[in-house]
C-alpha cells in the first residue's frame, strides 16, 4: 500500500472540504478500499475517515420511511429493532453478507457507493425504490446505479443516508459462490408504495429490474407466478464460476425463493 495522509473530520462540511482534493478518497468501513489499496489499485493522496461524523449515523423511522445513516455498519443494521420491525428482509440481508468481521466494520453507505455487481444492498435499494440522500441532492435508486462500480455520485459528493419506503412485503434470496461467498445471482422482491419490484443482482454488470416478473407478481403474488419466466442470458456475466445461461437460470430459481422469503 502506498502511503497517504489520514484525516478524521467530525463534520460533514469538513469532510466535503477535504474531499475537494480530487485524489482524496472517503473511508467508511474500509472493507473494500483497504484490500484495493493493498493491491495498489489506487494511489490516493489522502483518506478521509467518515466514522467521526455524527450526521452520517443513526437509524430511525420517519412516518412511512426507514432512514439509515450511510455510516451504519452491517452488524448494527442486522440487530436494529427498528429495521427488524419495518423491513425484516433488509435486517436479514445485513446479517447475511460478508462474514462477522466484515459486518462489524463495513457500512451500508460504503457498499452502495461502491456498487459492486455482487453486493447485496444495491438490490434492496433498487428493489424497495429507495432514495439515496447526498450532501447535495436526493437521488432515486432508479437513477443511482449506473453499472459496474459506477453510480450517479459526482466527485466531492457524499452519500449521507438512505430512505427506504416501508413495503407490505419484501424478500431476498441469493446463490453464493461456494468459495468466495460473493453473490452469483440474487433476487430481491417487494410489494408496497413503490409497486411490485423484482431486482436482480450478481448476475449482470449491475443491478437491474426484471419487468416481466414484476408484471407477473403484480397479478399473482406467488412463486408459481414467476416459475415459468426465463431471464435472457444476454448481457449477463460469464466467468469460471458460472456461465451467463447458468446465471439466467438462477434468476428464476432465486425469484421463486425470494417470494417465499417475503411470505
Amino acid at each position: 500500500m502506498y502511503d497517504f495522509a489520514f484525516h478524521k473530520p467530525s463534520t460533514l462540511a469538513e469532510a466535503v472540504g477535504l474531499l475537494a482534493d480530487p485524489d482524496a478518497r472517503p473511508l467508511s468501513g474500509g472493507q473494500t478500499i483497504l484490500p484495493a489499496l493493498k493491491h495498489r489499485l489506487d494511489r490516493p493522496s489522502a483518506l478521509v475517515d467518515l466514522s467521526g461524523i455524527a450526521e452520517l449515523r443513526g437509524i430511525r423511522r420517519e412516518g412511512d420511511r426507514l432512514v439509515i445513516g450511510a455510516m451504519s455498519r452491517h452488524a448494527e443494521i442486522s440487530r436494529d429493532p427498528t429495521v427488524q420491525a419495518a423491513i425484516p428482509a433488509l435486517a436479514r440481508m445485513a446479517g447475511n453478507l460478508g462474514d462477522t468481521q466484515v459486518r462489524n466494520r463495513g457500512t451500508m453507505g460504503g457498499s452502495l457507493a461502491n456498487n459492486d455487481p455482487a453486493a447485496d444492498y444495491p438490490a434492496a435499494a433498487l428493489g424497495l425504490g429507495a432514495t439515496l440522500v447526498t450532501n447535495r441532492r436526493r437521488i432515486p435508486a432508479d437513477e443511482f446505479f449506473l453499472g459496474m462500480f459506477t453510480t450517479a455520485l459526482e466527485p466531492g459528493e457524499l452519500l449521507t443516508g438512505i430512505e427506504y419506503p416501508i413495503p407490505d412485503k419484501a424478500g431476498y434470496a441469493k446463490m453464493r459462490n461456494p468459495a468466495s461467498r460473493y453473490v452469483m445471482t440474487g433476487v430481491f422482491v417487494s410489494r408496497g408504495p413503490a409497486g411490485v419490484r423484482v431486482v436482480v443482482n450478481g448476475a449482470g454488470p449491475g443491478v437491474f429490474r426484471q419487468a416481466e416478473m414484476e408484471a407477473a407478481l403484480t397479478g399473482n403474488w406467488s412463486p408459481e407466478a414467476v416459475a415459468g419466466i426465463r431471464q435472457s442470458p444476454d448481457a449477463l456475466n460469464s466467468d469460471i464460476h458460472g456461465s451467463a445461461e447458468y446465471r439466467a437460470h438462477l434468476v428464476t430459481v432465486m425469484a421463486k425463493r425470494a417470494v417465499v422469503d417475503a411470505g
Binding site: 502506498y2 452488524a75 468481521q101 466484515v102 461467498r181
Partner: protein
C-alpha cells in the same frame, strides 16, 4: 507521522505509525504481539482477528489510525495474569482444536465474539456458520466446533467447568 493512542490488553500505548500502517502491523511490529497472525492479508482467512472495543475485526483490514481511542484485545490478553486460560483457550486445549496452530489465535478470538453474541447457545450448524470468516487450512474444523460448543456452556454459566473431551 501520525501517532495512535489506544489500549491493548489493558495497557495504554501511544505509537508512531504511517497512515498506511495496518492494525496488525502495529500489534506485531510495534508492540511485538506476534500471537496475532497474518495468513492471507486479503481479509479472507481470519488468522488476524482481534477484538476492537469488544467486536471481532480482521486487523489486516483496519488501519492502525482507525484504532485511535479504542480498546484492543489480542490472543495475548485473554488469559488471567496468573496464567489461567480463558474458557475458550482451555476448550481448544481440551478438545485438541488445533493441528498446525496457525489459524488458532484468530479462531479463538472469533469464537469468543460469536459465543457472546449468542447467549441463547448455538448448535453445531450455527457454530459452523458463525466461523465463516475463519479458515483452517488443515481443515481441522471438527474439533474447533466441539471446543466452541463446550466453551459456550462455561462462558454462559451453564456449567462451572468445561465438559471433558471424550477419548
Amino acid at each position: 507521522m501520525p501517532s495512535v493512542n489506544l489500549t491493548v490488553n489493558g495497557q495504554p500505548h501511544s505509537v508512531e505509525v504511517e497512515g498506511r500502517t495496518l492494525l496488525v502491523e502495529l500489534l506485531r511490529e510495534k508492540l511485538s504481539l506476534t500471537g496475532t497472525h497474518v495468513g492471507c492479508d486479503t481479509s479472507q482467512c481470519g488468522a488476524c482477528v482481534v477484538h476492537v472495543d469488544g467486536e471481532s475485526v480482521k486487523s489486516c483490514t483496519m488501519l492502525a489510525v482507525q484504532a485511535e481511542g479504542t480498546s484492543v484485545t489480542t490472543i495475548e490478553g485473554l488469559a488471567a495474569p496468573d496464567g489461567t486460560l480463558h474458557p475458550m483457550q482451555e476448550a481448544f486445549r481440551e478438545y485438541h482444536a488445533l493441528q498446525c496452530g496457525f489459524c488458532t489465535p484468530g479462531m479463538v478470538m472469533s469464537a469468543i465474539d460469536l459465543v457472546k453474541k449468542h447467549p441463547e447457545g448455538m448448535d453445531e450448524h450455527e457454530i459452523r456458520e458463525g466461523l465463516e470468516g475463519n479458515l483452517c487450512r488443515c481443515t481441522g474444523y471438527h474439533n474447533i466446533v466441539k471446543a466452541i460448543a463446550a466453551a459456550q456452556e462455561v462462558m454462559h454459566g451453564r456449567r462451572t467447568a468445561l465438559a471433558p473431551a471424550e477419548v
